[in-house]
């Protein structure tokens, strides 16, 4: 029984870690540009597929580093060519645009890499279990969680201690004033969008090592990421972090007791938060109106 619980706790941690990476990227873009990026799950898949294509030449470690950067670069192109045009328009247009983009990207992935699942090879040492009693915990799982922790810590340090990070945080509160103070807001938004895509690409590479690749691998992560953002509190990245961990854990622990309710419990948390604390666990009053 302890093993079952331990197994599901590690599962929850890993699922939560993916929710967190996805949701942080979505949240960055949402906070600064007021755009819900429906295609975020497809940027995740793109990161994974790029790693699949690059790893024969660059090796796993090279692909792990390069493919999120390439994903971010494609994010820059998407932002410059399309998303930028709808910043000052009704939110319905940004939703439709990224929604359409998600369809096109998913079909493109299916066209280029095929509709069937593909595996992403891991370095030999990573796929071993850490011990015979804890046979269900591979080194890869530990590795994934560590990468996520380092990335999230790096992101928060970046936002806190660098000039660009400071501008992103200030822009979240009042973009107009930031612009008046002489900051190039257009570039700031592009950079911020790319940063979000970078996080999605990284989660894609990590997820590919665990569950393999398929064209709609990001879809299942998209909805929980939305919920993580709402539960944590729109406008607060710390909130998103806790929201993601909370629903990942809740879903995994429900699996121990009653597997078919693991999806429902996420929505139960959403309803409870909307009912009792509409601003979200850590959100500030007024951010969502």
């Amino acid at each position: 029984m302890t093993q079952v619980i331990l197994y599901n706790v590690t599962n929850g941690l890993i699922i939560g870690a993916f929710y967190v990476l996805m949701a942080l990227g979505l949240s960055l873009i949402l906070n600064l540009s007021n755009v819900i990026n429906f295609a975020h799950g497809n940027f995740l898949a793109l990161g994974g597929y790029l790693a699949f294509t690059l790893s024969p030449t660059l090796g796993y470690w090279g692909a792990l580093l390069v493919s999120p950067l390439l994903t971010a670069l494609i994010g820059v192109a998407v932002e410059r060519l399309m998303v930028r045009r709808i910043y000052n328009r009704d939110p319905v247009y940004s939703l439709l645009l990224t929604f359409g983009l998600a369809f096109v990207m998913q079909d493109a992935a299916r066209y280029i890499w095929g509709p069937n699942g593909l595996p992403l090879g891991l370095p030999a040492g990573l796929s071993q279990p850490i011990s015979s009693t804890l046979f269900f915990i591979t080194w890869y799982r530990i590795f994934m969680v560590s990468v996520v922790i380092v990335t999230v810590a790096g992101l928060f340090a970046f936002l806190r201690y660098t000039r660009v990070g400071l501008r992103i945080r200030a822009g979240t509160l009042d973009l107009e004033t930031v612009s008046t103070l002489g900051v190039n807001v257009r570039n700031l938004r592009t950079f911020n969008f790319a940063l979000g895509c970078l996080l999605a690409g990284l989660s894609g590479v990590l997820a590919a090592g665990q569950i393999g690749l398929n064209p709609n691998m990001g879809d299942d992560l998209l909805m929980p990421s939305f919920i993580a953002i709402i539960v944590g509190g729109v406008g607060s990245l710390i909130g998103t972090l806790f929201g993601g961990l909370l629903i990942g854990m809740a879903a995994a622990l429900t699996t121990v007791v009653y597997p078919s309710a693991s999806e429902a419990v996420i929505y139960a948390i959403l309803m409870a938060v909307l009912l009792i604390r509409p601003r979200g666990l850590i959100g500030e009053e007024g951010m969502m109106s």
């Binding site: 939110p91 319905v92 929604f99 359409g100 066209y111 939305f226 429902a264 929505y267 509409p278 109106s289």
Partner: protein, 328 residues
């Protein structure tokens, strides 16, 4: 009749012009079973246009006339479909009761959920509606024994409707069922038109144009948005019940957020701020989808490209663009 209610005073078309438009719309709708087969279409296609058109017009009460974005209306559409299907399968073999049950199920779910989110605005409102909508998708998906799970709910049939001594047999594939749907559609659309002409409808427009000013005038804004959301959910749920009757089938995809996106894009293609726009948008969308999916397996890219094209180059939609030309 209805177009006037929704045009700002300066943009009114001449009366004769409006009558002409109405005659044209109803003329086309009434004669569909006669000319559609000649063009290589089938009557069920027209039925689908009516169903999606009604759903999108319901959504447009909220989106176009209140200025509030829901990206989760498939939930209420799907609840309508499942409500009707489950009633027919498990409770009574009665088409009107099934429609009533489905409409109430979807509408009341929307009314309750609306209370939770009416203080949210813009993109956050949309996000809450998406997330909540998916709840029903997962429920239908995983509650296998009751809803048929991923394969959808089968084993129910629309039933003949009795009017005293007469019986209206809508069970066959022929045009009778199309005309039944058209009658339901007409009643719903007339209700919508009256609603938008009423002081309540005008208040919604005021909120859309300037929420702060409306609030300063003492209008209970949250209450109006909530009512608009619920009414819109009732209409969309009604469309959902027709969908279940049309196909004798309800599937989880009728609840999925992709369908919510389709409703929104239909509304935008036709013209968000026009009364008939969503119907036109639904016709364009249904025909395109039918055509493209018969031509290629990559229909997703085409649909996605249509979305992006509309947003980037055609944001006013068909009727919105025409009206701008006429009034300019």
């Amino acid at each position: 009749m209805t177009t006037t209610a929704v045009l700002p005073a300066g943009a009114r078309l001449a009366v004769s012009h409006r009558v002409l438009v109405l005659v044209a719309i109803w003329g086309v709708l009434l004669t569909v079973p006669f000319w559609l087969p000649l063009l290589g279409g089938y009557t069920a296609l027209a039925g689908r246009v009516l169903v999606f058109g009604l759903a999108a017009m319901g959504l447009n009460l909220l989106l176009g006339f209140t200025g509030v974005l829901s990206f989760g209306h498939a939930a209420y559409f799907g609840l309508g479909a499942y409500g009707a299907g489950l009633t027919l399968r498990y409770l009574v073999h009665s088409t009107p009761l099934a429609m009533l049950a489905g409409t109430l199920l979807g509408g009341l779910a929307g009314t309750l959920f609306g209370m939770l989110i009416v203080r949210r605005r813009g993109v956050y409102f949309a996000m809450c509606t998406i997330a909540f909508g998916q709840l029903w998708y997962y429920l239908a998906y995983s509650w296998n024994d009751f809803t048929g799970g991923f394969d959808g709910l089968r084993d129910f049939q629309r039933q003949p409707i009795g009017f005293g001594p007469f019986t209206l047999d809508i069970t066959s594939e022929g045009p009778t069922f199309y005309y039944f749907m058209l009658a339901v559609f007409a009643v719903a659309v007339i209700l919508m038109g009256l609603l938008l002409r009423s002081p309540f409808g005008r208040t919604l427009l005021a909120i859309r144009e300037n929420e702060r000013r409306a609030r300063f005038l003492g209008i209970p804004v949250e209450m109006h948005i909530w009512l608009s959301f619920s009414i819109s959910c009732f209409f969309t749920a009604l469309a959902g019940t027709l969908y279940a009757l049309l196909n004798n089938f309800a599937d989880p995809l009728a609840l999925h957020y992709s369908l919510s996106g389709y409703f929104v894009v239909m509304t935008v293609i036709g013209g968000m701020r026009t009364f008939w726009g969503p119907l036109l948008g639904a016709a364009v969308f249904v025909v395109l989808q039918d055509y493209i999916s018969s031509m290629t397996v990559n229909w997703m890219s085409f649909v996605g490209a249509i979305f992006m094209f509309v947003v980037l180059f055609f944001p006013r939609g068909l009727l919105g663009t025409i009206r701008r030309r006429v009034t300019a």
